[in-house]
């Protein structure tokens, strides 16, 4: 029997990595990811997890070591955040282009300068187009569940792509929550053996990440695009099987109290739980407002999002990152693009806030919703609103 235990989310993630019985962990510690990798190190030295733990000298080396390990068919895990993710940039594209099923937890954090160790989604947005599957999470339980699911998704023969599991820095990584750690045998049954189809092996030499001249590069890119786009089918299947086995259901786009609502708020990551409380309060005031939460960031869930937003008048999007000098909120801008072809389509009001660890409280969300509704009515000459900035 599994029982609920109070546990820091980072520690719970490390326990999930242990449950997934990984073979290789190559990591470099960085705030706010540190507790994840420290606890995995403890599990390895204590003999609780039989894995090769490679303490490397940088994040570039961490992911490079993971490339080699995943290429041999070993189940491979790493974790990073912010500047570390930036330093990995080059190897991120190699991992996805070579179709290596690596799982990485990213403890989302702002990017320097100015230096900030606190959370937002700036780091995620710099790797948006890196060709990885990217899943967002709202609480510790989801982090545990999706860390486990990520291995089954990544290693699926129809997918074979690396997966980022996003954990908001501090808001998730450093809080203690009640967590249900799944049963070891049940996880073992849920995760089939990793069976990479063309592993590095002396008996059958292969070359990976090879030179692709102009006559074949476009085809290689398209093969990657097809794989990432089609991975959504497998992701949904894995979540459905997970729901049957473990009783918790995940979907690419999730909704909260959207029935009858003409105005919806859209969030991604841990702030969604605060947004739910704000929606409850606004509903008590008699305004019919609901919440949409984007769980799957890549592949982008176009169909599910259009379906979820059908028939509404106003969509208010909160982004925790700024596309500087551009459209403002990256999520809002992608949602706009996804809805442009729809007729009718809702008014979209974009807010950017919660940057570098600044909280968005329940009251703040109420303000965002109400101001968003006003702006939808009156119009605005701004691409986006910078929430809470002192001018």
């Amino acid at each position: 029997m599994t029982k609920r235990v109070g546990m820091e989310v980072s520690i719970a993630v490390a326990e999930a990595v242990k449950l997934a019985d990984v073979d290789v962990v190559a990591v470099y510690p960085i705030t706010p990811q540190t507790h994840v990798v420290e606890h995995i190190a403890d599990l390895v030295v204590d003999g609780e997890l039989d894995a090769e733990y490679i303490p490397v000298e940088s994040e570039h080396s961490a992911l490079s070591a993971c490339l080699g390990s995943a290429a041999t068919g070993a189940r491979t895990f790493t974790a990073t955040a912010s500047q570390g993710l930036e330093l990995m940039q080059e190897t991120l594209y190699v991992a996805s282009g070579m179709r290596l099923p690596i799982v990485m937890v990213v403890a989302n954090r702002a990017v320097s300068a100015p230096l900030s160790i606190w959370g937002d989604h700036s780091d995620v947005m710099t790797v948006r187009d890196s060709g990885w599957i990217q899943i967002f999470n709202e609480n510790g339980q989801e982090m545990v569940d999706n860390t486990i699911c990520a291995f089954r998704i990544a290693e699926n023969q129809q997918v074979l792509l690396p997966v980022m599991v996003h954990m908001d820095g501090f808001n998730l990584s450093h809080v203690i929550e009640p967590i249900l750690l799944p049963d070891e045998e049940q996880v073992k049954a849920f995760l089939p053996t990793n069976n990479y189809p063309l592993p590095l092996h002396p008996s059958k030499p292969v070359a990976m990440g090879d030179f692709a001249p102009p006559f074949i590069f476009t085809e290689a890119r398209w093969a990657h695009e097809e794989a990432l786009r089609n991975s959504k089918r497998t992701i949904v299947e894995v979540w459905d099987v997970f729901a049957k086995e473990f009783g918790r259901q995940y979907k690419p786009v999730e909704s909260y109290r959207t029935e009858g609502a003409k105005t919806l708020l859209l969030t991604m990551g841990s702030f969604s739980e605060t947004a739910m409380t704000a929606v409850d309060k606004i509903r008590e005031e008699g305004l019919s407002v609901g919440l949409i939460r984007l769980r799957l960031w890549r592949p982008f869930p176009f169909e599910e999002l259009r379906e979820a937003l059908q028939g509404i008048d106003t969509l208010i999007v909160l982004d925790r990152a700024l596309s500087t000098g551009g459209p403002g909120g990256p999520v809002a801008s992608e949602v706009r693009a996804a809805l442009y072809s729809q007729n009718p389509r809702p008014q979209i009001v974009s807010f950017v806030g919660g940057l570098g660890g600044r909280d968005i409280t329940v009251e703040n969300f109420e303000t965002i919703i109400k101001r968003g509704m006003e702006i939808a009515k009156s119009g605005s000459d701004k691409e986006f609103q910078m929430f809470g900035v002192r001018e």
Partner: protein, 97 residues
């Protein structure tokens, strides 16, 4: 019949564009951006093999007669062989040939 390079579609590629035939990179025609090519006066050649050792491309092969000659499918036209030959067998000429 295997497909020609320019007939391959994305479906023909191995996962992650992995190359499964050892030595397959030798099929790439990488000499076609050459702007000069080596020409030889083998009457002076002493068959010392210096040109072969210095060629950064490893593209100098020995002929049946024991002479050392560039494979122009891969030769980049850098001129190092011409510079290193102790008896001036090799001269670099304009054009890809």
């Amino acid at each position: 019949m295997p497909k020609a390079d320019n007939e391959l579609t994305w479906r023909d590629l191995e996962i992650g564009c992995i190359a499964t035939n050892p030595g397959s990179s030798s099929a790439y025609r990488t000499g076609d951006w050459r702007s000069q090519h080596p020409e030889y006066d083998f009457s002076r050649c002493i068959k010392c093999g210096m040109c072969q050792m210095y060629c950064p491309e490893g593209c100098i092969q020995t002929s049946k007669e024991g002479y050392f000659e560039a494979n122009l499918y891969h030769c980049k036209g850098c001129g190092i062989c011409a510079r290193e030959c102790p008896v001036w067998v090799i001269s670099m000429k304009e054009g890809t040939k």
